[in-house]
């Protein structure tokens, strides 16, 4: 149902589907139609024009009824095309799955064989096969199928390799399944969509190839008609009686076109990457659709977020990823944003520079002021000038953010020259200096390394160097050390801390780790379900958390050096972001919950001149002691 719905959204694919259904229907009912015998010659009646006498499409050079030959021939071409696609898919997929699943030497031997097959020009190979087997429709079918096996084998092998190394295959082995059973029940169901996609995009091609062989006289033998042989026989009368070639030619065009349009639609609807919206290229900055008046800036902070709301609109659902976040960052200050997955911390950070992908992201309310300038709704050119120059990002996975095909030096030079036109030599010198400043040993040599030649820690240093390239005022670091080992994390954190002090950088540090926040940040904001639930100086919050969520989250984190013990847990799960409850989002998991918590809008209110909490029954140090 879902698949058909997706397919129907693509108008061209839908048109292809309708045309194909009509053609298949015609092919199926051909024997029932009152048609003239397609193979009976009547030379007296040759080369009749369409609609002359009772021949609707005219007759060919032997006086045979063209409509009848077209329908019978089309039926045959379709059958041969589908049959060869099916044969090629079954054999190719089997080869691909076996090679991909077993890997190693099996894979090597099989795939080199397939490579050899692919090294021949396909039509030459098909001709050679037909030459060896002799002309005839069945032999043409075998030839076309054989020629297309490598395509399937290679495609399917690639997918199988990635599936065979997934953990669920290991889990199946541990469940006592044999290899054959794993291939059939674990691997195959995950490969079938790829087989269908590959088939839907090649059937048209195979019909064309069969027609090609028949055209050369190697496929269907006279008097039997298929589209290719009709075209071949009409060749000599191309100028004098063009309708004899136009009729089968147009039919081939319509069939192949319809199948290809349909095939592309099937591929787009089935391919998970394309389905998730990767086909629609994101806009250069996040869509802003604010209905309420834009809040004015109240402070002279470097960065000020005011009532920011970012949502994801997809399939009629609205995910309220960020539901009204306000945050101030002063120059030279390090502010931590702490929260669990889905709390909206990364989306908040990306919204600052309009980096949330649209579609599906939409900023629906609020304002972001950077050095007094409103950024939401600012023209792309303004944002582009700020991105990477005044405001830079460091992401979690430097492997994913560095381009694998360019040396790190080249990428650094590009980052510098994007904002400050300078000679390549100057930029190169600056890049070496940057690598030195992030303490990469042997920077002159390392600048020519590719990202894959570096360790995770070294790559993250390059990521930091790139963020520093234009001496930004603000760095937004989104879990920069989560993917790193503890010893490397300690190095990177102390590096960031030094850089912040030396250069007077402001940093927004996003993390889920209280230890990291405690060591690095002056202030911290705790996020839950898209909103800040508590905000204030780091020490104060860590010493006496006011929001029950902060308190309970901190209790969950095991601390090193306390030995074996029972750990505290928060019961339940965070709320779903497209169905947020009334009142406090944490109410269902909270041990202090009361009826008042489940109604209205609970605001973030100050508890002293530095701290604020979004809770009507906050924890107090006195009450903690009483408990």
């Amino acid at each position: 149902m879902n698949f058909l719905h997706l397919l129907a959204r693509n108008r061209l694919a839908l048109a292809g589907l309708i045309v194909m259904l009509l053609i298949v229907l015609l092919a199926l009912i051909t024997p029932l139609l009152p048609l003239a015998d397609p193979d009976v010659t009547n030379t007296a009646e040759r080369f009749k024009r369409p609609f002359e006498d009772n021949a609707m499409l005219g007759t060919d050079h032997l006086g045979r009824d063209l409509l009848s030959r077209l329908l019978w021939g089309g039926r045959l071409s379709l059958a041969v095309g589908f049959a060869s696609a099916l044969i090629a898919a079954v054999i190719g997929a089997t080869i691909g799955i076996v090679a991909g699943f077993y890997g190693g030497r099996t894979d090597n031997v099989i795939m080199r064989g397939v490579d050899m097959l692919m090294a021949f020009p396909y039509i030459l190979l098909a001709l050679a096969i037909v030459a060896a087997l002799g002309p005839g429709l069945i032999n043409a079918l075998i030839a076309v199928a054989a020629v297309n096996i490598p395509f399937f084998a290679r495609n399917i092998r690639g997918v199988t390799v990635s599936i065979a190394h997934r953990e669920f295959v290991d889990a199946a082995r541990l469940s006592g399944m044999s290899d054959a059973r794993i291939i059939l029940t674990e691997v195959l169901p995950n490969v079938i969509p790829v087989i269908v996609i590959a088939m839907s995009t090649t059937v048209g091609w195979m019909i064309l190839e069969t027609a090609g062989l028949s055209f050369l006289g190697l496929g269907s033998q006279p008097p039997q008609a298929d589209l290719g042989s009709m075209l071949g026989e009409a060749r000599s009368a191309l100028i004098t009686n063009p309708h004899t070639s136009i009729v089968p030619g147009a039919m081939i065009l319509v069939i192949v076109m319809a199948i290809n349009l349909l095939g592309d639609g099937v591929r787009d609807a089935l391919d998970p990457r394309l389905r998730s919206g990767a086909l629609s290229r994101p806009m250069p900055n996040t869509l802003v659709r604010r209905k309420d008046p834009v809040p004015e800036t109240k402070t002279d902070a470097l960065l000020e977020l005011n009532g920011l709301k970012t949502q994801f609109h997809s399939n009629g659902r609205i995910h309220k990823a960020v539901g009204g976040v306000g945050l101030c960052v002063e120059a030279g200050e390090c502010v931590g944003i702490i929260g669990e997955s889905g709390s909206g911390k990364s989306v908040t950070a990306l919204s600052v520079m309009g980096l949330v992908a649209s579609p599906p992201g939409v900023i629906t309310a609020g304002a972001v002021h950077f050095a007094g300038q409103e950024l939401l709704g600012a023209p792309y050119e303004t944002l582009r000038r700020l991105r990477g120059d005044r405001v830079a990002y460091i992401f979690q996975d430097p492997q994913a953010t560095l381009h694998p095909l360019y040396t790190v030096g080249r990428q650094l030079v590009e980052a510098i020259r994007a904002h400050h036109p300078t000679s390549r030599a100057n930029a190169h010198e600056r890049a070496v200096e940057l690598l030195r400043s992030v303490r990469i040993p042997n920077a002159e040599m390392r600048i020519d390394s590719y990202p894959h030649e570096m360790s995770g820690g070294m790559r993250q240093r390059v990521g930091i160097a790139m963020a520093l390239a234009n001496d930004p005022d603000l760095i937004i670091a989104d879990e920069p050390t989560t993917a790193l080992d503890v010893t490397v994390q300690a190095q990177i954190l102390s590096l960031l801390s030094d850089l912040q002090r030396e250069r007077g950088l402001a940093i927004i540090f996003i993390t889920h780790d209280f230890g990291v926040v405690a060591q690095l940040c002056n202030r911290v904001a705790v996020m839950y379900a898209g909103r800040i639930v508590e905000e204030g100086p780091t020490d104060a919050i860590l010493n006496s958390p006011a929001h029950p969520y902060t308190a309970r989250l901190m209790a969950c984190v095991p601390e090193l050096g306390r030995g074996r013990r029972e750990l505290a847990a928060i019961p339940g799960l965070p709320p779903v972001l497209d169905m947020l409850p009334q009142g406090c989002a944490f109410a269902d998991r909270c041990h202090r919950v009361q009826d008042a918590c489940r109604t209205g809008n609970i605001s973030l209110s100050a508890i002293d001149d530095e701290r604020a909490v979004r809770c009507i029954f906050p924890e107090t140090p006195a009450m903690d002691k009483a408990q």
Binding site: L174, G176, S455, V486, Q489, E559, L573
Partner: protein, 317 residues
Amino acid sequence: MTNALKVSELSKTFAVGKRLFGPPQAHVRAVQPVTLTVRKGETLGIVGESGCGKSTLARMLVGLLEPSGGQIEIEGEPLDTANPATFGRKIQYVFQDPISSLNPRKTIRQIMEAPLRHLHGMSKERRARRISEIFSAVNLREDFLDRYPHEFSGGQAQRIGIGRALAADARILILDEPVSALDVSVQAQVLNLLSDLKAKFDLTYLFISHDLAVVEAVSDRVAVLYFGSVVEIGPAEQVFSKPRHPYTKLLADSAPVVGRPLTAPEGRETELPDPLNPPGGCAFCARCPRALNECATERPALARDGSNRMIACLNPY
């Protein structure tokens, strides 16, 4: 006390740069010969950083990877084959990524039935009974059984993964980073469940993680792995609070702790040794603040230090 698992001189070497004909270009020792015993009912924590060989070791222990040398004994019986089905009844594995360890195209029931059917050959009614027993043990509702893996949160999916491991009825579970893909608030739910199950079903755990605090909180003993070998092993409450091997100390000092000022516990330029070109002496020598001259040439053996700890170091703290 009886041993649940005994590993002697277990090692793994990978060939690098394989060719169609002829020998590979080089060999990498992912796991140096390791000798370990896990007592019945114990939780042995294994910590180490990426590339230290902890996952390779774990995969050998369940037969997913054939060891290059050494022996695995489970409850006194040696297991020589690398057939996961033989291992499956005695020792099971809980994967790091709960979602990707469940086949996206199978229902939870199909996933849960696999070990019951293939390892124990149970009939349909017995399978259904056993699954409902297991599901109540891991606190999952039975109406989850007909759903598909993508409908579950990480914490629920991990409980399904644990349930599958329990279904095999093995006495030993290898937990390979079972909570590192989970949020902190959910992490504790899973860890506490694991501890309940252990008491209830009399299980033995091998708990692998890079998170020192988690390992310390759940383990009886902790083994620290560096560059494929065990450098220190001892009671959980002592290993990180009074580390003796310089690497253990470095790990303990690197973990970010609330209330401790930020310091880089070692020089910022250091990197792990190159596996293709392993150092001759102690693998940690180049990073070690207490290295002696002989550390560069002599490889220290894991030796008992007079108490209940074992250290592989010539100049321990």
